[in-house]
């Protein structure tokens, strides 16, 4: 659901500053009276209208029981304020490492939640993003993935996570905005390379030995490891999943061969973003095939290597290239 509530610039700034001082960013936050806000919901206001209506009704008919009912409902509203606070207070929220993601993907930020006493129907979302509903938070920590739509590459911070609850009767909205300090580096969106590296995409295995070889049998994987939620589905070992062994990710065997160099200058002078995207794609392809490669990014050079760590450092380097091209060829 999209928010159409935008505060005017200055006010919003002030509000954010105030929030930052009140609720500083931290990877682990326990909600308490400082961090929980409560206001009546629309239904709560309707409820109060009913209370008033019943009171008038009881007064006009001089019926003490009707007046009593209206006061009881008023009192229930009061009780609900306490309970709606209780439904958030004591909840501990912590961020864990997010899975890799490319620009344009919907990011997911894993959030671990637990509470000393059960809390019901807690809604989590980042501003302007889809809401995640957690039916029950217990003292056993559970991880939820909070979606965040993102188009940009580079360091992406989802902003403050909104935690909201209307339990127990929907009369009050209790909420909090926590900054879980979970900035995430988003890789550039991969774009199929059509230039010099296009052969990488071909299915032939025996092309260009001089470009850093790879031995046959690349598709034999090194092993399986636990799938990280949110990871690309391309590498999931579906067969094993079907066998009931759970979500596993294939890791490929390390090949041998001469290093291949990837560089920003490999591409015709298209836009920087498109070149970065193509490089990202190439890095993925090479890593997938287990090839050894190096990366040349203007002043920065990443020495040839292979493996997941190498891939990540390459992709991160690509993601963090400043948007403005450097004056170097």
């Amino acid at each position: 659901m999209v928010s159409n509530r935008r505060k005017p610039g200055k006010l919003k700034q002030w509000f954010n500053q105030w929030l930052n001082s009140r609720l500083p960013a931290a990877t682990k936050v326990t909600l308490a009276h400082r961090s929980v806000f409560i206001l009546p919901s629309g239904f709560g206001l309707l409820w109060l209208t009913l209370v008033l209506l019943l009171f008038l009704f009881g007064t006009n008919y001089q019926n003490n029981l009707v007046i009593g009912l209206s006061l009881l409902l008023l009192s229930v509203f009061n009780t609900c304020i306490i309970y709606s606070y209780r439904n958030l207070a004591g909840m501990t929220i912590s961020s864990t490492l997010s899975p890799q993601a490319y620009a344009g993907d919907t990011l997911v930020f894993p959030v671990r939640l637990y509470a000393s006493q059960p809390q019901y129907e807690v809604l989590l979302n980042y501003p302007n993003n889809q809401i995640k509903v957690i039916k029950k938070v217990t003292n056993e920590a559970s991880t939820s993935l909070i979606p965040f739509i993102n188009e940009r590459r580079g360091r992406v911070s989802p902003g403050r996570l909104k935690i909201e609850s209307r339990y127990p009767l929907g009369l009050c909205r209790a909420w909090s905005h926590v900054d879980l300090d979970n900035e995430h580096i988003v890789y550039a969106a991969p774009l199929e390379a059509n230039e010099r590296l296009s052969h990488l995409d071909s299915e032939q295995d025996y092309v260009a030995d001089d470009q850093g070889g790879h031995i046959p049998g690349v598709d034999e994987f090194k092993g399986l490891r636990q799938h990280i939620p949110g990871e690309s589905l391309k590498q999931v070992a579906w067969k094993q999943l079907a066998q009931g062994r759970g979500m596993l990710t294939k890791e490929f065997q390390q090949p041998q061969g001469e290093p291949q160099w990837l560089s920003l200058t490999d591409f015709s002078p298209t836009s920087l973003e498109s070149r970065l995207s193509q490089l990202t794609h190439s890095v993925d392809r090479l890593s997938e095939k287990g090839q050894i490669f190096g990366l040349q990014l203007g002043e920065r050079t990443i020495q040839p290597a292979d493996g997941e760590a190498h891939r990540i450092s390459c992709l991160q380097a690509l993601a963090l290239v400043p948007a403005k091209p450097e004056t170097r060829t």
Binding site: R5, L46, L50, N78, R86
Partner: protein, 667 residues
């Protein structure tokens, strides 16, 4: 805004809705037209079908059609059922139809809010303790519907627990507000609740009172400021009948007119002189306007008119329990001077009726020229003659009084009073028939008088020069105990007021112990009427006075502040928000206490010293304490640092405290 996320109503909520629907509509059954009931039934069945999965949701047009149809039907019959009933039915229909076409959470909320309103409407007619408890339960069920929206996948019991918790924890604040909030008079006129009238009627024929003697329901209760008058003085006047057409006694039209205009006129009768008997009457709903009072009754209540025929008349019909103050001037005369017109009215008789009785009257007149003597002779005549007092008198023909007086010689109070009035009028004495209640059951525990419908009575009032209207009760001549000791002294309850009500609590009278229980319950009901239903600004003042001793603004606000924070803390505590002492904290203070005592003896614990090291030092320095202190230290460490089960914790804590006491003693 992130208001709604999952709009589907869970089965859990649907189940609660079914429960709430039945619970809310059942207590309202009296108010519903057969039409409304039928539609509610259909909706409920349909919903049940949806719940079980046999039927699909009804199409929109069908619901709209039903709604239109029922609204039109209601509009057609609204005149016969009254505006308020019409509105109730409309609301119920809306409730039922909305209920069936609910799709989203928002619809559920609407249904719940309307549900609360329907509960409030039920309170208009049902105000007994039992009903209040039932409706309290219904309120809880309705609240559970809302809880269930957030309790998907939970058990029914958990939701019920949460709902009841919310209601119960809200009760104290509600009670406080009820006591403290000002009691306002009605702000504007509202449509009145109409229902079949109960109790006395504004016309009396031979059969009428007899019907009432079959009713064991309460007519009203009275609480006297001092001790109540004895039974034979308890003539509760309600209606005065001045017109007789040979069959039926009715009120005179001039009085009827005054009753009609009572809204717009100021009460006309002056306050009688003398020492009054002060009391309050709590009238049960009769849907009539007349009230009850002992002669000569006068009320200062602005909603009551003191009519010229010495009756009390409510400006609005009594459609719920109504409590009013009355002063009765028992010795004050009624109309010492009588208007000629009124005199004529009270002398007129239908022509050529009851000729035998008329002849008897003429004969009486010749024998006793003095009016008072004549009346006494007439009373004696009833006493001496073989007249019989019965609740099931034989039938009479068109010449009613002749048949009764000379043929059947058996009748009920109306028969005797009618005959008496007829004869007295014929002999030239202005006389009228009065109906009301006679007697009352005294509740010793709570100190009030209950008057039941079966105590309905009729008697005569005679106007005597210089004395005004004087009460003559011929029934007292035939059955003196009826008046002296009350209705129950004469009749078997089983053959009268219990005949038609097999479950009346009055049946328990025969069993002393159970009767005591019955009276206790009746007292409870009485206190309920006085302190809850009749809680008005006077009572409020009294309660606050008692609670605070002089109501000032400061005292009031302080009282509210304390009460509200106490209530808030209690709720917060029971919600698990406050935890008073951390585990082990209590033990730490005890331990420090001992350490402080020891340091007084020169064995100070250094800041960097752990309990173990310190313990060793103490053991060396004070051998007499060595064993105990070693154990004490061990327990302390266990309590503070070891993960213990709850039972283990309890056990060690106990031992620790025992040692604490021992060591303290030795030190």
């Amino acid at each position: 805004m992130s208001s709604e996320h999952s709009e589907i109503i869970s089965r859990h909520s649907l189940l609660w809705l079914l429960l709430a629907n039945v619970a809310i509509l059942l207590p309202l059954y009296e108010k519903l037209t057969p039409w409304t009931m039928a539609i509610c039934g259909i909706c409920l069945l349909w919903r049940l079908g949806i719940f079980i999965g046999k039927v699909a949701k009804p199409p929109r047009y069908l619901v709209t059609l039903l709604a239109l149809g029922s609204a039109i039907t209601l509009a057609l019959i609204i005149n016969s059922i009254g505006l308020l009933n019409g509105l109730i039915n409309l609301l119920v229909l809306g409730y039922a139809l909305k209920y069936i076409e609910m799709r989203k959470r928002r619809d559920v909320r609407t249904v719940v809010l309307v549900g609360y309103f329907l509960i409030a409407l039920t309170f208009i007619n049902q105000q007994s303790i039992i009903y209040t408890l039932i409706l309290g339960l219904v309120t809880t069920i309705n609240t559970c519907v809302l809880v269930s929206l957030y309790h998907e996948g939970n058990k029914l019991k958990e939701t019920a627990l949460m709902g009841s918790k919310l209601i119960i924890q809200s009760l104290p604040l509600a009670a406080l507000l009820f006591i403290v909030l000002p009691k306002l008079p009605p702000l504007w006129m509202v449509p009145q609740n109409s229902s079949a009238t109960t109790g006395l009627s504004d016309q009396v024929s031979f059969g009428d009172i007899e019907k009432l003697t079959r009713s064991a329901s309460l007519a009203f209760r009275a609480e006297f400021d001092r001790s109540p008058p004895t039974n034979h003085l308890l003539y509760w006047r309600a209606l005065v009948m001045e017109d007789y057409n040979g069959k039926v006694w009715t009120q005179h039209k001039s009085i009827k007119q005054i009753e009609k205009d009572v809204q717009f006129t100021v009460s006309g009768r002056a306050r009688p002189l003398g020492n009054p008997v002060n009391y309050s009457v709590i009238a049960e709903p009769s849907y009539q306007n007349w009230l009850y009072g002992l002669d000569v009754a006068f009320s200062d209540d602005s909603n009551i008119s003191n009519l010229p025929d010495y009756r009390l008349y409510a400006k609005r019909s009594v459609d719920q329990q109504y409590r009013y103050r009355v002063q009765s001037y028992l010795k004050s005369p009624m109309s010492p001077v009588l208007d000629d017109k009124v005199k004529q009215i009270n002398l007129s008789l239908p022509e050529a009726s009851n000729l035998k009785t008329q002849a008897f009257a003429n004969q009486l007149m010749q024998e006793y020229p003095d009016p008072l003597q004549r009346l006494n002779a007439l009373m004696n005549y009833f006493n001496q003659g073989d007249y019989f007092y019965t609740l099931s008198p034989p039938r009479v023909g068109p010449q009613q009084i002749d048949d009764f007086l000379f043929e059947n010689k058996a009748g009920f109070c109306v028969h005797y009073a009618s005959a008496f009035t007829f004869i007295a009028r014929k002999t030239g004495i202005p006389t009228r028939l009065v109906t009301g209640y006679q007697g009352g059951e005294w509740n010793q525990q709570a100190g009030y008088l209950s008057v039941y419908q079966y105590m309905a009575h009729a008697w005569a009032e005679v106007w005597l020069e210089g004395k005004g209207w004087v009460r003559f009760d011929p029934t007292a001549m035939i059955a003196p105990q009826r008046v002296l000791e009350g209705f129950d002294a004469i009749f078997q309850p089983e053959s009268s007021y219990l005949l038609d009500s097999p479950f009346s609590p009055l049946r328990l009278r025969e069993f002393p112990l159970l009767n005591k229980l019955r009276l206790s319950l009746a007292s409870m009901d009485y206190y309920w009427s006085v302190w809850v239903l009749g809680f008005d600004s006077n009572k409020q003042q009294r309660v606050l006075q008692k609670l605070l001793g002089g109501v000032t603004k400061q005292k009031m606000s302080l009282f509210m502040l304390i009460a509200i924070s106490l209530i808030g803390l209690t709720i917060a505590y029971s919600a698990g928000l406050l935890t008073f002492r951390q585990r082990g904290e209590q033990h730490a203070t005890k331990y420090t206490q001992i350490c402080n005592k020891l340091s007084g003896k020169g064995l100070e614990r250094r800041l960097d010293e752990g309990p173990l090291d310190y313990g060793k030092r103490v053991e060396l320095a004070m051998p007499s304490l060595a064993n105990e202190f070693a154990l004490f230290t061990q327990y302390y460490i266990a309590l503070k640092y070891q993960p213990l089960t709850k039972e283990g914790q309890k056990k060690i804590s106990k031992l620790f405290l025992r040692l604490f006491k021992q060591i303290k003693k030795k030190l």
